[in-house]
């Protein structure tokens, strides 16, 4: 934000602007940028998902559209979806049905505001940063419930009910797993969290102490569940619930769910990066040439890991999913908090 304001100040025509004007202009630019990045990442990640799935499944994935490895396939799909009919079932609750995809999309987008891309480069430098991210992304649950309920379709209802149960449950280990990190940082501000990890790979929180290491994996599992992806794709479960909560959706509205899924996927990966994996810092101290690029590359690697898991494991059953969350992950994350707190005292390490 500060960098952007400074940049704008240097531009002709912006020099005479008041600080407030600059701030708002900067924020507007940032917001547009954010939306573009999100739309772009959805497109890039759908392509990447197909290629990764293809690679894992010993096939090629898209190869034709755009010549080079079918790079334009996702773009073509988006264009095609623009021209699709928007069907609203006669039995549906129209108002809720129409707004549900927007709620899901905005919910996942809103959280992006607090992502620290590079030193000083964050759309909203909030003191509550991490907290805000979790709060905003939980809006997605409401959207999914709305979609399932409004469709007036039994499969959609099941998808939505499962989705809601799953996402609210996994939000707890997700949030609890980050608490040991915050203990070490002493702040919820996302910039502060990254700054606290300066000094090479050994200062990244994942390797600070054994409890943090466990907490990272707890976070990773919970984040897969939070994004509704395999092996935890309960709300969709293609082979069980047809298409889950978005069974009745078509065209652009369906695409919004799709966009949101990938936006969310990248978001949770980026959170993993800036909370546990050193954010924009490179693994070797002193080699921090392109912080934003480092950050994004780490994010993409996390996305890859997520895809790898999705294409390797079978799907769990809904009761097993709940078992894992309530009886394994919540106790373990609580243990991590206590353990990490004790370690901090005994080692006398402050910072």
């Amino acid at each position: 934000m500060d960098i952007l304001t400074a940049l704008l100040q240097g531009l002709p025509g912006f020099g005479g602007m008041s600080d407030q004007g600059l701030f708002i202009t900067g924020a507007a630019v940032m917001a547009t940028l954010m939306f573009t990045v999100m739309a772009l990442c959805a497109i890039v990640f759908t392509w990447m998902e197909r290629k990764v799935a293809g690679f894992i499944q010993s096939r090629y994935g898209p190869m034709r559209t755009g010549r080079w490895h079918g790079w334009a396939q996702a773009v073509a799909d988006m264009l095609k979806i623009l021209g699709k009919e928007d069907i609203i079932p006669a039995e549906a609750d129209k108002g809720l049905f129409v707004f549900a995809p927007l709620v899901v999309l905005l919910g996942s987008l809103l959280a992006w505001v607090a992502v620290p891309w590079a030193p000083g480069f964050v759309a909203a430098d909030l003191d509550l940063g991490l907290f805000f991210i979790f709060a905003a992304s939980s809006m997605v649950v409401i959207g999914i419930l709305m979609a399932g309920w409004a469709s007036n379709n039994k499969w959609a209802l099941y998808g939505a009910a499962r989705g809601a149960a799953q996402m609210v449950s996994y939000e707890i280990p997700l949030a609890l797993a980050t608490i040991p990190v915050i203990m070490h940082v002493g702040s919820l501000n996302t910039q502060d969290i990254v700054i606290a990890q300066q000094g090479g790979i050994w200062h990244w929180f994942i390797l600070r102490d054994p409890f943090l290491f466990v907490a990272f994996w707890m976070y990773f599992i919970a984040s897969i569940a939070e994004t509704n992806r395999g092996p935890f794709d309960m709300p969709e479960t293609e082979s069980e619930l047809v298409a889950g909560y978005h069974t009745e959706y078509t065209g652009m509205r369906f695409a919004f769910f799709f966009l949101a899924e990938y936006a969310n996927l990248f978001l949770v990966s980026l959170i993993a990066v800036f909370v546990f994996l050193g954010g924009w810092w490179s693994p070797i101290p002193g080699l921090d040439f392109a912080p934003a690029l480092t950050f994004v590359i780490k994010g993409i690697l996390m996305v890859f890991l997520n895809m790898w898991v999705r294409w390797t494991l079978p799907r769990v059953r809904v009761d097993q999913l709940m078992y894992l969350c309530w009886k394994v992950m919540i106790p373990v994350t609580l243990l991590c908090i206590v353990g990490s707190g004790i370690l901090m005292i005994t080692s006398g390490a402050v910072g």
């Binding site: 799935a53 894992i56 499944q57 010993s58 096939r59 039994k154 499969w155 099941y158 395999g230 092996p231 794709d233 479960t237 293609e238 082979s239 069980e240 047809v242 294409w311 390797t312 494991l313 079978p314 799907r315 769990v316 059953r317 809904v318 009761d319 097993q320």
Partner: protein, 573 residues
């Protein structure tokens, strides 16, 4: 062995055994309708006939007792089989066998549906293959085959009373004091249709589930969506013309259907195919079995959410299909076997090609085994899911991999060897619990055994002619047709009048990919089958679906359905 059984029956029941025949090794006794339950109970309890394989209805419009109902029984412990037939005048009920054999339920419904023979005491005598709006009985000889009927209205499988009853029963079962669950009202239950158009049904079939949350309180199935009355079609065609229709039964393993059908008709003649034809049949049958198992295992794993395994195995399937296409010109509808031989010989280089592909298969099976065999999620999803005991499985009419998964090492290729299966060494893989995991693993192991068999056949495949030298069923060589009057006449008669199968009846069967595939043929010597009854292995298996999923969760039902390998083509015929 079966002959002694008939003698024992005659000693036991005396005059009440009205007749006993033994044609082509199929022992059959005739009893009166009143004695039927008694005889069946005796056979089940004293003679070890654990399984009612099939019930065949036959229409004889010229007879006083118009219908005949034949019960096909098999003993697994004493390794014999017997047919019991009763006469049934029109509109006079036959006592049901449902109390003795659970498989009788659907078989009797089928006979009722297609012949209109009522069964007294049957708990649920409704149509099964034809639509509930359908009028008439298609397999009666006087049913006009040109008559089309439009049946469009879907049926609710659960009535409101059924739902209320299920709610009451659920309340009774969960009435433990202090439980968190409160009383269920009928309006709390949701009926949901799994199929006919659902990603997990792999074919048009329907299961209406009555759900309390995620738990299936009850499920009812409806089949017949792609019923085309194969058996009626067969009666309207010559014996040779039936061959392509058998492709469409189990479209995943058409070669097996072809071979077993050809074998059944050859049995009516009392002949066997040439050694080379038999060897070719074994090869293509085993390839078909591999393909069928691949389809089942892959789609089952996809239903469980493990999509990647699908590709590891489907590439192999594709590769085998390429060879089959090269061999007979088509992938699914192969139409390769002929009565008395094969359509043509193998092409040059077939053997080497298949060897390479079997190598790929082994690789694929190994990869997938590594991915799933010890995977915690896979085991949690499949162990104990849809489990059935051996005794229940036999009573329900299970055969094939689903039966072997319960731990019974029974394979018709070993028990009643045909096509020279006794010359090859192979094992019968079995499971222990009869659950979804066992069914998947048994199929995986069977693919490896099939490979073993094919390798042995390829090693010592006999030379010589493919077709029998028998003018009754095999077309003469072209040189003869053009060069001699006998040749022309022979060709002419076989083409125009069809193969004249001698009058009589016979039950030809073999180990299909899903279990015992049998053709019960009756010939009146006119050149058309008088009656052709198929015993599709998945029909009785699917009838047990409800009992497998009751009280379990929706995802379990899907895992179970996939592992039973229900092929709508042979289920509905």
């Amino acid at each position: 062995m079966s002959q002694q059984l008939v003698e024992r029956l005659q000693r036991e029941f005396g005059d009440r055994i009205l007749a006993a025949t033994g044609m082509h090794g199929d022992e059959s006794v005739t009893v009166s309708r009143q004695d039927l339950p008694l005889v069946l109970a005796h056979l089940r309890d004293q003679e070890g006939c654990e399984q009612l394989s099939d019930i065949v209805g036959v229409d004889h419009p010229e007879r006083a007792a118009r219908f005949e109902v034949v019960y096909l029984l098999r003993s697994y412990s004493k390794r014999h089989r017997i047919q019991v037939s009763v006469d049934a005048p029109e509109d006079e009920p036959v006592p049901t066998a449902c109390g003795l054999y659970r498989s009788a339920n659907w078989h009797e419904r089928e006979v009722y549906d297609l012949f209109g023979i009522p069964f007294s005491g049957h708990p649920d005598l409704r149509r099964i293959l034809c639509h509930h709006q359908f009028e008439g009985h298609a397999l009666r000889k006087d049913y006009p085959i040109e008559q089309g009927q439009e049946c469009t209205r879907p049926e609710n499988l659960f009535s409101d009373e059924d739902i209320a009853h299920a709610a009451r029963r659920a309340n009774e079962m969960s009435s433990s004091p202090g439980a968190v669950v409160d009383e269920l009202h009928p309006s709390d239950l949701l009926t949901i249709n799994l199929g006919p158009s659902h990603p997990a049904t792999h074919g048009a079939l329907r299961a209406e589930c009555l759900l309390d949350g995620e738990t299936i309180l009850d499920a009812r199935t409806e089949i017949g969506y792609i019923h085309r009355c194969f058996e009626k079609e067969a009666e309207d065609h010559t014996w040779a013309q039936v061959m392509p229709y058998t492709d469409r039964l189990n479209y995943c393993s058409a070669m097996l259907n072809n071979s077993i059908y050809a074998m059944a008709v050859e049995k009516m003649f009392g002949v066997e195919a040439t050694p080379r034809a038999q060897a070719i049949r074994v090869i293509v049958s085993e390839l078909s079995r591999i393909i069928d198992h691949l389809v089942c295992v892959c789609t089952n794993l996809v239903d469980l959410g493990a999509l990647t395994n699908y590709w590891y195995l489907y590439n192999v399937r594709e590769s085998i299909y390429q060879s089959l296409e090269k061999l007979c010109g088509s992938r699914l509808t192969t139409n390769y076997a002929r009565i008395g031989g094969m359509s043509h010989d193998l092409y040059d280089g077939f053997e080497d090609e298949i060897r390479v592909k079997l190598q790929e298969l082994e690789q694929g099976v190994t990869d997938v085994t590594k991915l799933v065999a010890r995977n915690r999620i896979f085991l949690d999803r499949t162990v104990g899911v849809g489990a059935i005991s051996t005794a229940d499985a036999l009573n329900w009419g299970y055969t094939g991999p689903c039966l072997r998964a319960t731990g019974l090492a029974w394979d018709l290729r070993k028990e009643a060897p045909y096509s020279g299966y006794d010359q090859y060494e192979f094992d019968i893989p079995t499971g222990t619990n009869g659950d979804t995991q066992d069914r998947i693993m048994v199929r995986m192991a069977e693919m490896v055994q099939s490979r073993r068999i094919i390798e042995q056949v390829l090693q010592k495949i006999p030379g010589g002619p493919v077709d029998l030298d028998d003018p009754r069923m095999v077309l003469p060589p072209k040189a003869q047709v053009y060069g001699s009057i006998e040749g022309v006449m022979n060709q002419f008669k076989l083409i125009f009048e069809g193969i004249q199968v001698p009058a009589g009846r016979g039950y030809g069967f073999g180990e299909g990919a899903n279990g015992e595939l049998g053709f019960y043929c009756i010939s009146d010597g006119t050149g058309h089958p008088y009656r052709m009854k198929v015993r599709p292995p998945c029909f009785p298996i699917f009838s047990s679906f409800t009992s497998l999923v009751q009280g379990r969760m929706l995802p379990d039902a899907i895992a179970t359905l996939g592992s039973l390998n229900i092929i709508a083509g042979e289920l509905d015929r």
